[in-house]
């Protein structure tokens, strides 16, 4: 059995200043977790996220982050700029932005999952990731008798929040749709909180196909609508209007603050 926690309790138990947090999933963003982190006023979080999207933008705007390791960051609807991300980068905010390609980030999590300090990766020489150190120290070169390779440093989150369509009492989870990097993130992390749309009997979960085994899972949160305004395959659509509303309001710091007050903090 794995403990079933409320969202607030799960965040309180796992996210503190200095915690390295992976937020899943790629294309199924756990807005409910990010918003709860904001509500609890946690600061100095180190975020690991593949597709930063509006979730990373909101965490940046709310002052939650000390660093972010990410593949890209924008609003997928429009597409529109991630305004807080832009303001932070262009204004020189004290947030360390480690820009990775998604392949590199996945390899870093794989190294973390395997318990090795780094992993050979295809070279990206000729790009800013290598030539201008956009990753801020996460790439290096290793030579051994098998050859020389670019390598990426292992990524080991303290906690991974992973979205699942179904979860059972033993913490087995079913991820519907593309997996992105979520499995290796769960394997790499020191703790995993499964945020499930639905709790289901074990036989239902087994029949659907277990993606995240309970072995990896520390706690389960039952939270229908966990991704909203993002969409969940087979359950609810991406809320285009909500994305557009956010993009308009976050265009100014004042607009973002009022959006935050109305849609997250109250």
């Amino acid at each position: 059995m794995r403990p079933v926690l409320g969202l607030a309790d799960a965040v309180r138990a796992h996210v503190r200043p200095g915690t390295r947090v992976y937020l899943g999933n790629f294309g199924a963003q756990l807005f409910c977790v990010g918003h709860e982190v904001i509500r609890q006023g946690v600061r100095d979080v180190d975020l690991v996220i593949a597709s930063g999207g509006l979730l990373m933008d909101q965490l940046l705007g709310a002052g939650v982050l000390r660093s972010a390791t990410f593949g890209h960051c924008w609003s997928p609807v429009g597409p529109a700029p991630a305004h807080n991300f832009r303001r932070a980068a262009e204004g020189g905010a004290p947030v360390a932005l480690h820009e990775m390609s998604l392949g590199l980030l996945t390899a870093a999590l794989t190294a973390g999952a395997w318990g090795v300090p780094f992993l050979p990766v295809p070279d990206r020489a000729g790009t800013g990731y290598v030539d201008e150190d956009w990753t801020r120290g996460l790439l290096d070169t290793a030579t051994c008798r098998f050859g020389t390779s670019r390598v990426v440093r292992a990524e080991v989150p303290d906690v991974a929040f992973v979205h699942a369509d179904l979860a059972d009492a033993d913490g087995n989870g079913v991820v519907r749709g593309p997996l992105g990097e979520v499995v290796v993130a769960a394997q790499a992390a020191r703790a995993v909180v499964l945020v499930a749309e639905e709790l289901a009997p074990a036989e239902t979960v087994r029949a659907a196909g277990i993606t995240i085994p309970g072995l990896l899972v520390s706690a389960v949160v039952h939270h229908p609508g966990a991704l909203a305004p993002d969409g969940a395959l087979g359950r609810y659509d991406r809320d285009v209007a909500a994305y557009e509303r956010y993009a308009r309001r976050a265009a100014t710091p004042e607009g973002f603050r009022s959006w935050l007050e109305e849609e997250v903090l109250t």
């Binding site: 597709s51 700029p81 020189g92 820009e99």
Partner: protein, 253 residues
């Protein structure tokens, strides 16, 4: 309702034809999503799309997807749901074609989607590359889609390189004015019969591309344009800024 301008419609149709050449087509964000969706409504060879988060699709989305990760919009078209490493690192070199968006692109086939100015204190912070650096480097054939109307975004050398093709990648750049072969010997391959085509050719020549051998672009027929216009109307409802802009410009004409 007025139709969007021919340049936008024809650009979209020609981009969609890249999918209809058939096979496995890696599909990037924005214009490639729209072109892939349109391609299902055009004649041609069957194709399968693959996406950076591990999805494949085997038919049109039930809605115009707002992005490559708008899984509910793809609905039952979703097929093999693998992972990022499988698609970007293990399978990228096997795709028949890789179609990606190119906001700012150069004649080498390199794209900057990260920053203008210094990376640690940029003048303009752009979104970043996502999976494009991985899949572009491994692609056998890379098609960049530049849907904009600002020639300054097509450069001799981009200020920073987010994504670059591999040394053996065949690279072409689709624009509303024509198709350019980019790489070691950049050349204008096809020129469209639209406003701005002459300026485009002059711009390319100034950058160092050959422009003397360009052929007229194959025509786009009325049915194809109608399909593209219908797609853009649906895309406008789904939040696509380029679609809304095209429709607004059409209404103003």
């Amino acid at each position: 309702m007025s139709a969007p301008d021919v340049g936008t419609l024809d650009f979209l149709v020609r981009a969609a034809r890249e999918f209809r050449r058939g096979g496995w087509v890696f599909t990037g964000f924005h214009w490639p999503v729209l072109a892939g969706q349109l391609a299902h409504h055009l004649p041609g060879a069957p194709f399968t799309q693959a996406f950076e988060a591990g999805a494949t699709t085997h038919g049109p989305g039930r809605l115009v997807p707002t992005s490559t990760t708008d899984y509910p919009a793809y609905g039952n078209a979703l097929g093999y749901a693998a992972d990022t490493a499988s698609v970007l690192l293990a399978m990228a070199r096997r795709f028949d074609r890789v179609v990606l968006d190119a906001g700012t692109v150069d004649l080498r086939g390199c794209v900057n989607s990260s920053v203008v100015g210094e990376h640690r204190r940029p003048t303009v912070r752009l979104p970043g590359g996502g999976g494009a650096p991985d899949v572009a480097a491994a692609a056998r054939e890379l098609v960049w889609l530049h849907g904009g109307a600002d020639l300054r975004r097509i450069q001799a050398r981009v200020e920073h390189v987010t994504a670059a093709p591999g040394p053996h990648t065949r690279v072409r750049l689709h624009t509303r004015w024509g198709v350019v072969r980019v790489g070691a010997d950049p050349a204008l391959e096809e020129v469209a019969d639209v406003d701005g085509a002459e300026e485009f050719a002059a711009h390319l020549a100034a950058l160092g591309a050959r422009t003397d051998g360009a052929a007229p672009r194959p025509p786009v027929d009325a049915a194809e344009r109608a399909a593209a216009a219908a797609l853009l109307r649906e895309a406008a409802d789904r939040g696509y800024a380029v679609a809304r802009r095209a429709l607004a410009e059409a209404a103003a004409r």
